[in-house]
């Protein structure tokens, strides 16, 4: 069933009588994860010889939809057709067998191996001999044909990120993929690499492949795509072409909200106007590197004042995580200055920053902030265990610890059997409430909250929003990073948008046209 890698896909010539089936047709796809509806009756098509871009904000359902196409998930309802024939994929291997290959954001490559060896690993061929020479030859030919520029004998660890990505594409082509799906492919690339990739994708479409790529960068999308589908809240908002639309329209379709939607949000409350005080957090020219050594923050200038909440909007992967880590001392800044409460705190150790009155609600509570295997008391005192009254001399005071923990649990309505319960037995919402309680206990000057309500039930979400509001009223400065635009709009005074590590713009949250934010998130500054 797998077409041989050396022959290009058949380009259908339309006949007047029978319509040409699209390469991919997804009909009425629905998928939910627990209470969250990721895809709701989505119709999506991609044709041969076309580049189709899938666009939407965080959580719109783009990755889920494509994961279904790539065989990672099974849809709850709806149908997938490839070349007109209905298919049911049970695994990614099934999908590859039907010619669909997905390039993920995390590459599945074995570093000490060469490119050819990685490809051989994925071959379903039996047989003892490695036959790397043959594979290398075929890869070289494929690479040349599609302009990928990959040397099959290179070892993966020697290659740049962009090159590794092309290896992933090459591997898929070798395994017979005719439909390529890429999830935010330019997120990890330098601008030149991004240009080069987009050209390559156009070239492949010209040779008859069907290319689908997820992106939030509207400039790229308009330049390269033949068709654009916009997903919003799990539904297709529109499908259009670059000639029929422009950036503003796309942005509006991506993030547009009716006023009514905003008001209905559980956290929408009349926003008390608080006069912001002096600046608590100042970032000037802040730059930092990300995981793979690529720049994650570029020359960021931001300011958060006492009694103010600054929301950081942006599609995931544009530097938000790195921003939080640099401010809280978990990542080194390569340039620029961080001032907290007037004192320069650039690259100070995390503990020192915490002592300066900075609270951190991290992105992944169980990885950084909380200790799943320990009990509630032990988690509660993480920040304060070394100071009186928790400890006097070398000894911890059980009584003080107990009192402290009980107070936290009560004040923030954390539902738990008792102080001695192990943290991992609590629900996500209650874990987060405890984390918040602990961080806020010290009357922090600055709160860095990253996705504070991710994976948290609605009741806990409200409680957390209330707690953050209280802190704001108390005079704390809050840096709120969230993928949930509604949350940002409801809680922030101002919103700054990050794109590719830069602040694209800052707007007041009240009365912000969602369209403006959408444009900034998509990389389009005011024009």
């Amino acid at each position: 069933m797998t077409p041989s890698p050396s022959s290009p896909p058949i380009t259908h010539h339309p006949s007047p009588v029978t319509p040409v089936p699209p390469a991919v047709a997804m009909r009425a796809i629905s998928k939910r994860f627990g209470p969250v509806v990721a895809n709701d009756q989505v119709d999506f098509e991609a044709s041969w010889g076309e580049v189709h871009a899938l666009v939407g904000e965080n959580g719109a359902g783009k990755s889920t939809l494509m994961s279904i196409l790539a065989g990672l998930y099974r849809p709850d309802s709806g149908q997938v057709e490839i070349d007109g024939m209905p298919v049911r994929f049970r695994s990614p291997r099934d999908a590859i067998g039907h010619g669909i290959g997905m390039v993920y954001q995390h590459f599945m490559l074995v570093e000490p191996f060469t490119v050819a060896e990685n490809v051989v690993l994925g071959e379903q061929r039996s047989g003892v001999d490695l036959q790397t020479a043959r594979v290398e030859r075929e890869l070289t030919e494929l690479s040349q044909r599609y302009g990928l520029g990959v040397d099959p004998r290179a070892k993966i660890w020697q290659l740049s990120v962009g090159e590794q990505q092309r290896v992933e594409i090459l591997r898929l082509l070798y395994l017979g993929a005719r439909i390529l799906v890429l999830d935010e492919p330019t997120a990890v690339l330098t601008p030149q690499e991004a240009r080069s990739l987009l050209q390559t994708l156009r070239g492949m479409a010209a040779q008859g492949f069907s290319v689908v790529f997820i992106s939030h960068k509207l400039d790229e999308v308009l330049e390269v795509a033949d068709r654009i589908s916009i997903l919003r809240r799990g539904q297709i908002a529109a499908t259009t072409t670059p000639t029929e639309t422009n950036r503003r329209t796309l942005a509006r379709l991506m993030v547009g909200r009716e006023l009514a939607e905003l008001v209905e949000h559980p956290s929408a409350e009349p926003h008390q106007t608080v006069m912001p005080g002096e600046p608590i957090l100042e970032l000037r020219g802040l730059s930092a590197l990300g995981e793979k050594g690529l720049p994650a923050l570029r020359n960021v200038d931001l300011e958060v004042r006492a009694g103010e909440t600054l929301g950081i909007a942006g599609v995931a992967g544009n530097g938000q995580r790195e921003l939080a880590e640099v401010v809280t001392g978990l990542r080194l800044a390569t340039d620029g200055v961080i001032r907290i409460d007037g004192k320069t705190m650039t690259n100070r150790p995390a503990a020192e920053i915490a002592r300066a009155g900075v609270a951190h609600i991290p992105e992944d509570r169980l990885a950084t902030g909380l200790i799943g295997g320990m009990n509630l008391s032990e988690n509660a005192i993480l920040r304060v265990y070394a100071q009186p009254p928790m400890c006097s001399g070398p000894f911890l005071s059980n009584r003080a610890v107990a009192a402290f923990t009980d107070r936290l649990l009560a004040n923030h309505d954390v539902k738990a059997p008792g102080r001695w319960a192990k943290l991992h037995t609590l629900s996500g919402g209650n874990q987060q409430k405890l984390l918040l309680a602990r961080e806020l206990a010290g009357q922090p000057r600055l709160i860095v909250a990253v996705h504070p309500t991710r994976g948290v039930d609605i009741g806990a979400t409200e409680a957390i929003h209330t707690a953050l509001r209280e802190q704001r009223a108390r005079g704390a400065a809050t840096l709120l990073i969230s993928e949930d635009l509604d949350e940002l709009l409801a809680l922030s005074d101002r919103i700054a948008v990050l794109f590719e590590g830069r602040v694209m713009g800052t707007l007041p949250a009240r009365g912000a046209a969602a369209e403006e934010i959408g444009l900034l998130m998509a990389g389009i500054s005011h024009d």
Partner: protein, 315 residues
């Protein structure tokens, strides 16, 4: 002193090194493939003991050393299967599981072997000269006047080298030890393969035990492997997970053992203690070097060694 170190003496030491190193080599190769697959098995000593017992016992019962060798393979595989079940299947702590296996193997072998202590096996893997090759000066004496098991071990080194570096299966083996997620994404059944290599490794270690009880020290006695299993574990690192280097290391250890014995017999007072320490100290050095990023690519351990692998739940 110099009249002791004649060429004849050195050659005899080298020949003895190969003979003594064969058992260690089998065990080391077994641990090597296990660790290549990403699993640490500290139970080799216990497995070797069970192999030694099975070998001697089966030979005494059947009268045939080859039957003994086969049973040693089976015993080693069975012991390692426990480790595979616990560590691959149930993701238990690999360090503790391996140690439990060593202690268990030591106890079980002593218990089961209680009736055959000191009973000489009716047939052993004695020296078999290979015609023609055995007459080659120097090398002939060292390499081709050995036991059948030693010849098998030579072949095994070659086979494993070819297997690991030149076959598809070997590629998969290296992949599951380096980056199991990538192998999984490519459709490789990581758990199944890991279990298989743990068991195969155990079988080889068992055979190593038989190489002692049916080879160099015929018969069975409690604890007769005398720490060779631990040496084998150290050797894997010393060899940087490469079968050819493993052979060099095994013969080095064998040589130290053989050489010091002979020197003492010749009346030379050698502070053998420090000589004996060298391999262990050297192993530490290799380990430290192989952990540093710069040398890791050349010498490095399989990146996923010791970590249990679970696939993220699919929706």
């Amino acid at each position: 002193m110099t009249d002791i170190l004649t060429p004849a003496f050195i050659i005899s030491v080298l020949a003895a090194a190969v003979a003594a190193g064969t058992a260690i080599l089998f065990a080391c190769l077994g641990e090597l493939i296990t660790e290549r697959a990403g699993v640490l098995n500290l139970g080799i000593e216990g497995i070797m003991l069970m192999g030694a017992l099975a070998g001697a016992g089966a030979c005494i019962w059947s009268g045939n050393a080859w039957v003994g060798a086969a049973m040693a393979l089976a015993a080693g595989a069975a012991m390692a299967a426990i480790h595979a079940l616990l560590c691959v299947g149930l993701r238990a702590n690999q360090v503790v599981s391996g140690l439990a296996l060593t202690i268990f193997g030591g106890g079980l072998s002593a218990f089961l072997g209680r009736d055959i202590v000191g009973v000489p096996p009716p047939s052993t893997f004695h020296r078999v000269d290979i015609p023609v090759l055995a007459d080659i000066p120097v090398l002939g004496r060292i390499l081709f006047q050995q036991s059948a098991l030693s010849y098998i071990s030579f072949a095994l080194v070659g086979f494993l080298w070819w297997y690991i570096y030149r076959t598809r299966a070997g590629l998969r083996l290296r992949a599951i030890g380096e980056r199991p997620e990538a192998a999984d994404a490519m459709g490789v059944d990581v758990a199944r393969l890991r279990a298989l290599y743990v068991i195969a490794g155990g079988a080889l270690a068992g055979l190593g035990g038989a190489a002692i009880s049916l080879g160099t020290n015929p018969g069975w006695s409690e604890g007769m492997t005398a720490g060779r299993g631990w040496i084998a574990v150290a050797l894997v690192i010393f060899a940087a997970w490469n079968p050819a280097r493993a052979a060099v290391g095994a013969y080095l250890f064998g040589g130290v053992e053989a050489g010091q014995f002979r020197l003492q017999a010749a009346g030379v007072d050698v502070s053998s203690f420090f000589l004996n320490m060298l391999p262990y100290l050297f192993t530490i050095l290799v380990l430290v070097l192989s952990t540093r990023e710069s040398t890791r690519r050349v010498l490095g351990a399989p990146a996923a060694l010791g970590r249990a692998y679970t696939r993220e739940d699919l929706g």
